[in-house]
Amino acid sequence: MSDKEPVSFNVTRLGIIVSISEEGSFSDNLVALKEKVLSNTKFFTGSPMSLDLGWREITSDDLVLLSGLLKEQRIQLQGIISSSLVTRKLAEGRGIKAIIGRLGLSEHYSRKAKVEEIPEHEKHAVPQEDTLMLRKTLRAGQKVIYQGNVVIQGDVNPGSEIIADGDIIVLGALRGIAHAGASGREDAAVIALVYEPMQLRIAHYISITGSSKPNRKKGALTARVENGKILLQPCGGS
Protein backbone atom coordinates (compact mmCIF):
# COMPACT_ATOMS: atom_id res chain seq x y z
CA MET A 1 0.00 0.00 0.00
CA SER A 2 2.54 2.60 -1.00
CA ASP A 3 1.64 4.49 -4.16
CA LYS A 4 -1.63 5.53 -2.86
CA GLU A 5 -4.66 7.04 -3.32
CA PRO A 6 -5.29 8.52 0.06
CA VAL A 7 -8.44 6.46 0.31
CA SER A 8 -9.46 3.25 -1.32
CA PHE A 9 -12.08 0.74 -0.51
CA ASN A 10 -12.88 -2.88 -0.95
CA VAL A 11 -16.08 -4.77 -0.64
CA THR A 12 -15.58 -7.90 1.37
CA ARG A 13 -17.66 -10.39 3.25
CA LEU A 14 -17.07 -8.19 6.28
CA GLY A 15 -18.72 -5.20 4.64
CA ILE A 16 -16.91 -2.24 3.18
CA ILE A 17 -13.35 -1.80 4.27
CA VAL A 18 -12.01 1.65 3.65
CA SER A 19 -8.26 1.83 3.59
CA ILE A 20 -6.71 5.12 4.52
CA SER A 21 -3.18 5.73 3.36
CA GLU A 22 -0.51 5.88 6.03
CA GLU A 23 1.06 8.75 4.21
CA GLY A 24 0.01 12.34 4.32
CA SER A 25 -1.84 14.07 7.08
CA PHE A 26 -4.76 12.29 8.53
CA SER A 27 -7.06 15.26 8.19
CA ASP A 28 -6.23 15.55 4.50
CA ASN A 29 -7.02 11.89 4.04
CA LEU A 30 -10.25 12.39 5.90
CA VAL A 31 -11.18 15.11 3.46
CA ALA A 32 -10.55 12.64 0.64
CA LEU A 33 -12.69 10.11 2.48
CA LYS A 34 -15.50 12.61 2.79
CA GLU A 35 -15.35 13.29 -0.92
CA LYS A 36 -15.50 9.63 -1.72
CA VAL A 37 -18.48 9.15 0.54
CA LEU A 38 -20.32 12.14 -0.88
CA SER A 39 -19.83 10.93 -4.43
CA ASN A 40 -21.04 7.44 -3.56
CA THR A 41 -23.74 7.99 -1.00
CA LYS A 42 -25.92 5.19 -2.24
CA PHE A 43 -23.06 2.80 -1.86
CA PHE A 44 -22.02 3.87 1.59
CA THR A 45 -25.28 4.48 3.37
CA GLY A 46 -26.56 1.48 5.18
CA SER A 47 -23.44 -0.63 4.67
CA PRO A 48 -21.36 -1.50 7.66
CA MET A 49 -17.95 0.02 7.30
CA SER A 50 -14.58 -0.75 8.75
CA LEU A 51 -11.54 1.45 8.53
CA ASP A 52 -8.15 0.03 7.75
CA LEU A 53 -5.51 2.42 9.04
CA GLY A 54 -2.55 0.14 8.43
CA TRP A 55 0.37 1.07 10.60
CA ARG A 56 -0.62 4.69 10.99
CA GLU A 57 -0.55 6.02 14.53
CA ILE A 58 -3.40 8.41 15.05
CA THR A 59 -3.90 10.99 17.75
CA SER A 60 -6.86 11.87 19.88
CA ASP A 61 -7.59 14.83 17.65
CA ASP A 62 -7.57 12.59 14.60
CA LEU A 63 -10.17 10.40 16.25
CA VAL A 64 -12.34 13.37 17.07
CA LEU A 65 -12.20 14.48 13.44
CA LEU A 66 -13.01 10.98 12.27
CA SER A 67 -15.93 10.54 14.64
CA GLY A 68 -17.24 13.90 13.54
CA LEU A 69 -17.11 12.94 9.90
CA LEU A 70 -18.79 9.61 10.44
CA LYS A 71 -21.56 11.16 12.46
CA GLU A 72 -22.07 13.83 9.87
CA GLN A 73 -22.31 11.34 7.04
CA ARG A 74 -24.31 8.94 9.17
CA ILE A 75 -21.87 6.11 8.67
CA GLN A 76 -21.95 3.14 10.99
CA LEU A 77 -18.40 2.30 11.88
CA GLN A 78 -17.95 -1.35 12.71
CA GLY A 79 -14.42 -0.94 13.80
CA ILE A 80 -10.85 -0.13 12.99
CA ILE A 81 -8.21 -2.42 11.60
CA SER A 82 -4.77 -1.33 12.65
CA SER A 83 -1.37 -2.83 13.20
CA SER A 84 -0.49 -0.05 15.61
CA LEU A 85 -1.07 -0.71 19.27
CA VAL A 86 -1.31 2.99 19.98
CA THR A 87 -4.10 3.43 17.48
CA ARG A 88 -5.98 0.39 18.70
CA LYS A 89 -5.80 1.46 22.32
CA LEU A 90 -6.94 4.96 21.47
CA ALA A 91 -9.88 3.67 19.49
CA GLU A 92 -10.91 1.25 22.18
CA GLY A 93 -10.67 4.01 24.71
CA ARG A 94 -13.40 5.76 22.78
CA GLY A 95 -15.56 2.71 22.45
CA ILE A 96 -14.52 1.88 18.91
CA LYS A 97 -13.73 -1.75 18.29
CA ALA A 98 -10.21 -2.25 17.04
CA ILE A 99 -8.65 -5.37 15.67
CA ILE A 100 -5.10 -6.08 14.79
CA GLY A 101 -4.48 -6.13 11.09
CA ARG A 102 -1.49 -6.09 8.91
CA LEU A 103 -0.75 -3.76 6.11
CA GLY A 104 -3.14 -4.16 3.24
CA LEU A 105 -5.22 -6.75 5.01
CA SER A 106 -8.35 -5.36 3.43
CA GLU A 107 -6.96 -6.01 0.02
CA HIS A 108 -6.15 -9.49 1.11
CA TYR A 109 -9.76 -10.11 1.97
CA SER A 110 -11.08 -8.57 -1.23
CA ARG A 111 -13.29 -10.74 -3.34
CA LYS A 112 -11.97 -8.93 -6.35
CA ALA A 113 -8.40 -10.08 -5.83
CA LYS A 114 -7.21 -12.19 -8.70
CA VAL A 115 -5.70 -15.61 -8.19
CA GLU A 116 -2.14 -14.43 -8.88
CA GLU A 117 -2.47 -11.81 -6.22
CA ILE A 118 -3.02 -14.29 -3.42
CA PRO A 119 0.09 -14.11 -1.31
CA GLU A 120 2.59 -16.92 -1.71
CA HIS A 121 2.24 -18.07 1.85
CA GLU A 122 -1.49 -18.67 1.65
CA LYS A 123 -0.75 -22.06 0.16
CA HIS A 124 1.00 -22.99 3.39
CA ALA A 125 -1.77 -21.91 5.70
CA VAL A 126 -2.96 -24.67 8.01
CA PRO A 127 -6.60 -25.53 7.25
CA GLN A 128 -7.72 -25.24 10.87
CA GLU A 129 -8.35 -21.56 11.30
CA ASP A 130 -9.16 -21.85 14.92
CA THR A 131 -6.32 -21.73 17.37
CA LEU A 132 -6.63 -21.80 21.14
CA MET A 133 -3.89 -19.95 22.92
CA LEU A 134 -3.51 -20.62 26.61
CA ARG A 135 -1.30 -18.64 28.92
CA LYS A 136 -0.80 -21.17 31.64
CA THR A 137 1.13 -24.21 32.64
CA LEU A 138 -0.90 -27.40 32.49
CA ARG A 139 -0.55 -29.37 35.67
CA ALA A 140 -0.97 -33.08 36.33
CA GLY A 141 -4.56 -34.16 35.84
CA GLN A 142 -5.48 -31.23 33.59
CA LYS A 143 -6.66 -31.85 30.07
CA VAL A 144 -7.23 -29.58 27.07
CA ILE A 145 -9.37 -30.83 24.20
CA TYR A 146 -9.78 -28.52 21.22
CA GLN A 147 -11.05 -28.68 17.67
CA GLY A 148 -8.23 -26.74 16.14
CA ASN A 149 -4.66 -25.82 16.94
CA VAL A 150 -3.47 -25.33 20.48
CA VAL A 151 -0.69 -23.05 21.63
CA ILE A 152 0.45 -23.16 25.25
CA GLN A 153 2.45 -20.31 26.70
CA GLY A 154 3.75 -22.39 29.55
CA ASP A 155 4.69 -25.96 30.36
CA VAL A 156 2.75 -29.15 29.90
CA ASN A 157 3.59 -31.07 33.06
CA PRO A 158 3.78 -34.84 33.32
CA GLY A 159 0.28 -36.12 33.95
CA SER A 160 -1.42 -33.47 31.80
CA GLU A 161 -2.79 -33.91 28.30
CA ILE A 162 -3.53 -31.91 25.17
CA ILE A 163 -5.77 -33.34 22.49
CA ALA A 164 -6.12 -31.19 19.37
CA ASP A 165 -7.42 -31.66 15.87
CA GLY A 166 -4.69 -29.41 14.55
CA ASP A 167 -1.14 -28.68 15.58
CA ILE A 168 0.15 -28.36 19.11
CA ILE A 169 2.77 -25.80 20.02
CA VAL A 170 4.22 -25.69 23.50
CA LEU A 171 6.18 -22.54 24.30
CA GLY A 172 7.74 -24.23 27.27
CA ALA A 173 8.46 -27.80 28.28
CA LEU A 174 6.31 -30.58 26.90
CA ARG A 175 6.45 -33.33 29.51
CA GLY A 176 2.92 -34.63 29.42
CA ILE A 177 0.91 -36.22 26.64
CA ALA A 178 0.23 -34.42 23.36
CA HIS A 179 -2.08 -35.72 20.68
CA ALA A 180 -2.15 -33.65 17.50
CA GLY A 181 -4.30 -34.35 14.46
CA ALA A 182 -6.59 -36.20 16.83
CA SER A 183 -9.32 -36.57 14.25
CA GLY A 184 -6.96 -38.30 11.85
CA ARG A 185 -4.85 -35.56 10.27
CA GLU A 186 -1.46 -37.07 9.63
CA ASP A 187 0.14 -33.79 8.64
CA ALA A 188 -0.35 -32.32 12.09
CA ALA A 189 2.72 -31.38 14.05
CA VAL A 190 3.77 -31.07 17.66
CA ILE A 191 6.37 -28.44 18.44
CA ALA A 192 7.93 -27.77 21.81
CA LEU A 193 10.75 -25.61 23.12
CA VAL A 194 11.73 -28.41 25.47
CA TYR A 195 10.70 -31.74 24.07
CA GLU A 196 10.28 -34.41 26.78
CA PRO A 197 6.78 -35.83 26.33
CA MET A 198 5.55 -38.86 28.20
CA GLN A 199 3.83 -39.91 25.03
CA LEU A 200 3.34 -38.26 21.69
CA ARG A 201 0.51 -39.00 19.31
CA ILE A 202 -0.17 -37.69 15.82
CA ALA A 203 -3.35 -38.98 14.23
CA HIS A 204 -3.16 -42.69 15.01
CA TYR A 205 0.62 -42.84 15.38
CA ILE A 206 2.16 -43.11 18.81
CA SER A 207 5.68 -42.34 19.85
CA ILE A 208 6.98 -43.29 23.25
CA THR A 209 10.19 -41.44 23.81
CA GLY A 210 12.79 -42.73 26.19
CA SER A 211 12.20 -41.11 29.51
CA SER A 212 15.73 -41.37 30.80
CA LYS A 213 17.49 -38.06 31.13
CA PRO A 214 20.55 -38.76 28.94
CA ASN A 215 18.37 -39.03 25.83
CA ARG A 216 17.13 -35.50 26.23
CA LYS A 217 17.76 -33.69 22.99
CA LYS A 218 18.64 -30.07 23.26
CA GLY A 219 16.68 -27.32 21.63
CA ALA A 220 13.21 -26.92 20.24
CA LEU A 221 11.93 -29.87 18.25
CA THR A 222 9.14 -30.53 15.81
CA ALA A 223 7.48 -33.91 15.63
CA ARG A 224 5.80 -34.95 12.39
CA VAL A 225 4.72 -38.14 10.70
CA GLU A 226 7.03 -39.14 7.90
CA ASN A 227 7.23 -42.45 6.12
CA GLY A 228 4.80 -44.07 8.46
CA LYS A 229 6.31 -43.01 11.76
CA ILE A 230 6.83 -40.00 13.97
CA LEU A 231 10.09 -38.23 13.34
CA LEU A 232 11.77 -35.45 15.27
CA GLN A 233 13.54 -32.55 13.70
CA PRO A 234 15.04 -29.36 15.04
CA CYS A 235 12.72 -26.42 14.56
CA GLY A 236 13.19 -23.83 11.90
CA GLY A 237 14.67 -24.26 8.46
CA SER A 238 12.92 -26.63 6.13
Partner: protein, 267 residues
Protein backbone atom coordinates in the same frame (compact mmCIF):
# COMPACT_ATOMS: atom_id res chain seq x y z
CA UNK B 1 -6.16 -11.39 62.56
CA UNK B 2 -4.27 -14.60 62.20
CA UNK B 3 -3.66 -16.81 59.23
CA UNK B 4 -4.85 -20.28 58.41
CA UNK B 5 -2.50 -22.58 56.56
CA UNK B 6 -3.22 -25.96 55.06
CA UNK B 7 -0.33 -28.43 54.96
CA UNK B 8 -1.05 -30.69 52.03
CA UNK B 9 0.74 -32.91 49.53
CA UNK B 10 -1.47 -35.21 47.51
CA UNK B 11 0.74 -38.18 48.13
CA UNK B 12 0.66 -39.89 51.50
CA UNK B 13 3.66 -40.38 53.71
CA UNK B 14 5.72 -37.44 52.48
CA UNK B 15 5.79 -35.68 55.84
CA UNK B 16 2.70 -33.49 56.19
CA UNK B 17 1.98 -34.46 59.77
CA UNK B 18 5.62 -34.17 60.77
CA UNK B 19 5.77 -30.78 59.10
CA UNK B 20 2.59 -29.60 60.79
CA UNK B 21 3.82 -30.69 64.21
CA UNK B 22 7.25 -29.16 63.82
CA UNK B 23 6.17 -25.92 62.21
CA UNK B 24 3.45 -25.53 64.82
CA UNK B 25 5.91 -26.13 67.64
CA UNK B 26 8.44 -23.77 66.06
CA UNK B 27 5.94 -20.95 65.73
CA UNK B 28 4.90 -21.44 69.33
CA UNK B 29 8.56 -21.29 70.37
CA UNK B 30 8.67 -17.87 68.77
CA UNK B 31 5.88 -16.75 71.03
CA UNK B 32 3.04 -17.04 68.53
CA UNK B 33 -0.32 -18.41 69.50
CA UNK B 34 -0.78 -21.54 67.41
CA UNK B 35 -3.53 -24.06 66.79
CA UNK B 36 -2.88 -27.24 64.84
CA UNK B 37 -5.78 -29.25 63.51
CA UNK B 38 -5.71 -32.84 62.37
CA UNK B 39 -8.10 -33.00 59.41
CA UNK B 40 -7.35 -36.63 58.66
CA UNK B 41 -10.65 -37.96 59.94
CA UNK B 42 -10.42 -41.71 60.35
CA UNK B 43 -6.63 -42.01 60.32
CA UNK B 44 -5.56 -39.51 62.87
CA UNK B 45 -1.92 -39.27 63.82
CA UNK B 46 -1.01 -35.66 64.50
CA UNK B 47 -1.69 -36.30 68.17
CA UNK B 48 0.77 -39.22 68.19
CA UNK B 49 3.57 -37.19 66.62
CA UNK B 50 3.04 -34.54 69.27
CA UNK B 51 2.82 -37.07 72.10
CA UNK B 52 -0.64 -35.87 73.13
CA UNK B 53 -2.68 -38.96 72.30
CA UNK B 54 -3.58 -39.66 75.90
CA UNK B 55 -4.98 -36.22 76.53
CA UNK B 56 -7.72 -36.10 73.97
CA UNK B 57 -11.25 -35.84 75.21
CA UNK B 58 -13.09 -34.12 72.38
CA UNK B 59 -12.13 -33.96 68.74
CA UNK B 60 -12.87 -31.78 65.70
CA UNK B 61 -15.94 -33.78 64.68
CA UNK B 62 -17.38 -33.30 68.16
CA UNK B 63 -16.84 -29.57 67.78
CA UNK B 64 -18.49 -29.39 64.36
CA UNK B 65 -21.39 -31.57 65.41
CA UNK B 66 -22.03 -29.39 68.41
CA UNK B 67 -21.18 -31.91 71.09
CA UNK B 68 -19.01 -29.25 72.73
CA UNK B 69 -20.29 -25.94 73.93
CA UNK B 70 -17.26 -24.32 72.42
CA UNK B 71 -14.27 -25.46 70.36
CA UNK B 72 -12.02 -24.52 73.26
CA UNK B 73 -13.26 -27.52 75.16
CA UNK B 74 -11.71 -29.74 72.53
CA UNK B 75 -8.33 -28.03 72.44
CA UNK B 76 -5.41 -29.92 73.96
CA UNK B 77 -2.58 -27.78 75.21
CA UNK B 78 0.88 -28.95 74.19
CA UNK B 79 3.12 -30.49 76.85
CA UNK B 80 6.04 -28.24 76.13
CA UNK B 81 4.44 -24.95 75.26
CA UNK B 82 1.74 -22.69 76.65
CA UNK B 83 0.70 -21.29 73.34
CA UNK B 84 0.38 -24.38 71.18
CA UNK B 85 -2.94 -26.20 70.96
CA UNK B 86 -4.11 -29.31 69.17
CA UNK B 87 -7.54 -30.05 67.80
CA UNK B 88 -7.48 -33.78 67.13
CA UNK B 89 -9.25 -35.81 64.47
CA UNK B 90 -11.84 -38.46 65.14
CA UNK B 91 -10.52 -41.92 64.59
CA UNK B 92 -13.90 -43.63 64.56
CA UNK B 93 -15.51 -41.68 61.76
CA UNK B 94 -14.71 -41.10 58.09
CA UNK B 95 -13.88 -38.18 55.80
CA UNK B 96 -17.50 -37.43 55.03
CA UNK B 97 -18.21 -36.74 58.69
CA UNK B 98 -17.51 -33.08 58.10
CA UNK B 99 -18.24 -30.62 55.32
CA UNK B 100 -16.24 -27.76 53.76
CA UNK B 101 -18.67 -25.14 55.07
CA UNK B 102 -18.24 -26.34 58.61
CA UNK B 103 -14.49 -26.10 58.30
CA UNK B 104 -14.80 -22.64 56.82
CA UNK B 105 -16.75 -21.46 59.82
CA UNK B 106 -14.39 -23.07 62.25
CA UNK B 107 -11.44 -21.43 60.52
CA UNK B 108 -13.07 -18.01 60.74
CA UNK B 109 -13.27 -18.41 64.48
CA UNK B 110 -9.72 -19.69 64.78
CA UNK B 111 -8.42 -16.86 62.66
CA UNK B 112 -9.63 -14.48 65.35
CA UNK B 113 -8.19 -16.41 68.25
CA UNK B 114 -4.81 -17.60 66.98
CA UNK B 115 -1.84 -16.06 65.19
CA UNK B 116 -1.35 -19.22 63.16
CA UNK B 117 -3.65 -22.13 62.48
CA UNK B 118 -2.19 -25.12 60.70
CA UNK B 119 -4.41 -27.75 59.18
CA UNK B 120 -2.87 -31.16 58.64
CA UNK B 121 -4.53 -32.29 55.41
CA UNK B 122 -5.12 -35.95 54.63
CA UNK B 123 -3.58 -37.53 51.54
CA UNK B 124 -5.69 -37.60 48.38
CA UNK B 125 -7.85 -35.14 46.51
CA UNK B 126 -11.29 -36.17 47.63
CA UNK B 127 -13.59 -35.03 50.43
CA UNK B 128 -10.85 -34.94 53.06
CA UNK B 129 -8.75 -32.61 50.94
CA UNK B 130 -11.73 -30.41 50.08
CA UNK B 131 -12.64 -30.10 53.74
CA UNK B 132 -9.12 -29.23 54.75
CA UNK B 133 -8.60 -26.43 52.22
CA UNK B 134 -12.04 -24.88 52.60
CA UNK B 135 -11.17 -22.27 55.22
CA UNK B 136 -7.52 -21.66 54.46
CA UNK B 137 -5.62 -18.55 53.48
CA UNK B 138 -2.39 -20.15 52.39
CA UNK B 139 -1.06 -23.55 51.42
CA UNK B 140 2.15 -25.35 52.25
CA UNK B 141 2.81 -28.20 49.85
CA UNK B 142 5.01 -30.88 51.34
CA UNK B 143 6.68 -33.16 48.86
CA UNK B 144 9.63 -35.49 48.38
CA UNK B 145 12.21 -35.38 45.59
CA UNK B 146 10.65 -38.45 44.08
CA UNK B 147 8.60 -38.80 40.90
CA UNK B 148 5.26 -39.93 42.26
CA UNK B 149 5.34 -37.39 45.07
CA UNK B 150 6.05 -34.64 42.56
CA UNK B 151 3.31 -35.85 40.25
CA UNK B 152 0.78 -35.77 43.07
CA UNK B 153 2.02 -32.40 44.27
CA UNK B 154 1.57 -31.02 40.78
CA UNK B 155 -2.00 -32.31 40.76
CA UNK B 156 -2.72 -30.68 44.07
CA UNK B 157 -1.21 -27.39 42.94
CA UNK B 158 -3.41 -27.50 39.85
CA UNK B 159 -6.46 -27.87 42.09
CA UNK B 160 -5.35 -25.05 44.38
CA UNK B 161 -4.47 -22.73 41.52
CA UNK B 162 -8.05 -22.89 40.32
CA UNK B 163 -8.97 -20.86 43.39
CA UNK B 164 -6.30 -18.22 42.91
CA UNK B 165 -5.56 -17.84 46.57
CA UNK B 166 -3.34 -19.95 48.80
CA UNK B 167 0.09 -18.60 47.79
CA UNK B 168 1.31 -22.20 47.64
CA UNK B 169 4.89 -22.79 48.69
CA UNK B 170 6.89 -25.97 48.83
CA UNK B 171 8.58 -27.83 51.62
CA UNK B 172 10.90 -30.34 50.02
CA UNK B 173 11.19 -33.12 52.56
CA UNK B 174 13.51 -36.14 52.87
CA UNK B 175 16.15 -34.55 50.71
CA UNK B 176 19.41 -36.49 50.37
CA UNK B 177 22.18 -34.38 48.99
CA UNK B 178 24.48 -37.32 48.27
CA UNK B 179 21.90 -39.06 46.16
CA UNK B 180 21.21 -35.89 44.24
CA UNK B 181 24.94 -35.55 43.58
CA UNK B 182 25.02 -39.09 42.24
CA UNK B 183 22.04 -38.31 40.04
CA UNK B 184 19.95 -40.83 41.89
CA UNK B 185 17.46 -38.35 43.21
CA UNK B 186 15.61 -35.36 41.78
CA UNK B 187 17.43 -32.13 42.46
CA UNK B 188 15.90 -28.92 43.77
CA UNK B 189 16.08 -27.55 40.25
CA UNK B 190 14.22 -30.58 38.87
CA UNK B 191 11.50 -30.01 41.42
CA UNK B 192 11.26 -26.33 40.62
CA UNK B 193 11.22 -27.00 36.89
CA UNK B 194 8.03 -28.95 37.25
CA UNK B 195 6.28 -27.37 40.16
CA UNK B 196 7.38 -23.83 39.48
CA UNK B 197 6.66 -22.51 42.96
CA UNK B 198 8.59 -20.77 45.69
CA UNK B 199 10.46 -23.13 47.98
CA UNK B 200 9.66 -22.47 51.61
CA UNK B 201 12.34 -24.86 52.79
CA UNK B 202 14.28 -28.05 52.29
CA UNK B 203 14.30 -30.69 55.01
CA UNK B 204 17.00 -33.34 54.81
CA UNK B 205 16.41 -37.02 55.40
CA UNK B 206 17.04 -37.58 59.08
CA UNK B 207 16.88 -40.73 61.20
CA UNK B 208 16.04 -38.62 64.18
CA UNK B 209 12.61 -37.94 62.75
CA UNK B 210 11.67 -41.54 63.39
CA UNK B 211 13.01 -41.29 66.89
CA UNK B 212 11.05 -38.13 67.45
CA UNK B 213 7.81 -39.68 66.22
CA UNK B 214 8.16 -42.65 68.48
CA UNK B 215 8.89 -40.45 71.43
CA UNK B 216 6.08 -38.09 70.64
CA UNK B 217 8.46 -35.16 70.64
CA UNK B 218 8.79 -33.16 67.41
CA UNK B 219 12.34 -33.05 66.04
CA UNK B 220 12.48 -29.28 66.24
CA UNK B 221 13.22 -29.74 69.96
CA UNK B 222 16.13 -32.04 69.19
CA UNK B 223 19.31 -29.99 68.88
CA UNK B 224 21.05 -32.76 67.02
CA UNK B 225 18.42 -33.15 64.36
CA UNK B 226 19.22 -31.63 60.98
CA UNK B 227 15.59 -31.91 60.03
CA UNK B 228 14.70 -30.04 63.18
CA UNK B 229 17.08 -27.25 62.22
CA UNK B 230 15.54 -27.10 58.77
CA UNK B 231 12.11 -26.71 60.32
CA UNK B 232 13.43 -23.88 62.45
CA UNK B 233 14.45 -22.11 59.27
CA UNK B 234 11.09 -22.74 57.73
CA UNK B 235 9.38 -21.25 60.74
CA UNK B 236 11.60 -18.16 60.51
CA UNK B 237 10.68 -17.84 56.89
CA UNK B 238 6.97 -18.11 57.56
CA UNK B 239 7.18 -15.35 60.11
CA UNK B 240 9.51 -13.26 57.94
CA UNK B 241 9.25 -14.05 54.24
CA UNK B 242 12.54 -12.32 53.52
CA UNK B 243 14.43 -14.87 55.57
CA UNK B 244 16.48 -16.96 53.11
CA UNK B 245 15.43 -20.51 52.33
CA UNK B 246 18.02 -23.13 53.16
CA UNK B 247 20.40 -22.88 50.30
CA UNK B 248 21.71 -26.30 49.55
CA UNK B 249 24.68 -25.83 47.36
CA UNK B 250 24.70 -28.02 44.34
CA UNK B 251 27.67 -26.37 42.75
CA UNK B 252 31.34 -26.87 43.33
CA UNK B 253 33.77 -24.25 44.46
CA UNK B 254 36.70 -25.01 46.71
CA UNK B 255 35.40 -23.33 49.83
CA UNK B 256 32.11 -25.07 49.58
CA UNK B 257 33.75 -28.44 49.09
CA UNK B 258 35.99 -27.76 52.05
CA UNK B 259 33.04 -26.76 54.16
CA UNK B 260 31.15 -29.85 53.09
CA UNK B 261 34.09 -32.04 53.89
CA UNK B 262 34.46 -30.61 57.37
CA UNK B 263 30.80 -30.86 58.24
CA UNK B 264 30.11 -34.01 56.34
CA UNK B 265 26.42 -34.29 56.82
CA UNK B 266 25.64 -30.64 56.51
CA UNK B 267 22.97 -29.89 54.11
Amino acid sequence: MGKVYVVTSGKGGVGKTTATANIGAGLAQKGKKVCVIDADIGLRNLDLIMGLENRIVYNVVDVLEGKCRNYRQALVKDKRSNNLFLLAADQTREKDAIKPDQMKRLCSTLREDFDYTLIDCPAGIEQGFKNAIAGCDEAIIVTNPEVSAIRDADRIIGLLEAEEKFNPRIVLNRYKKDMVKRNQMLSIKDVQDILGLEILGIVPEDERILKASNKGEPAIFDRNSRAGLAYKRIVSRIVDPTYPALNISEEGGIFRRLKNFLSKDEV
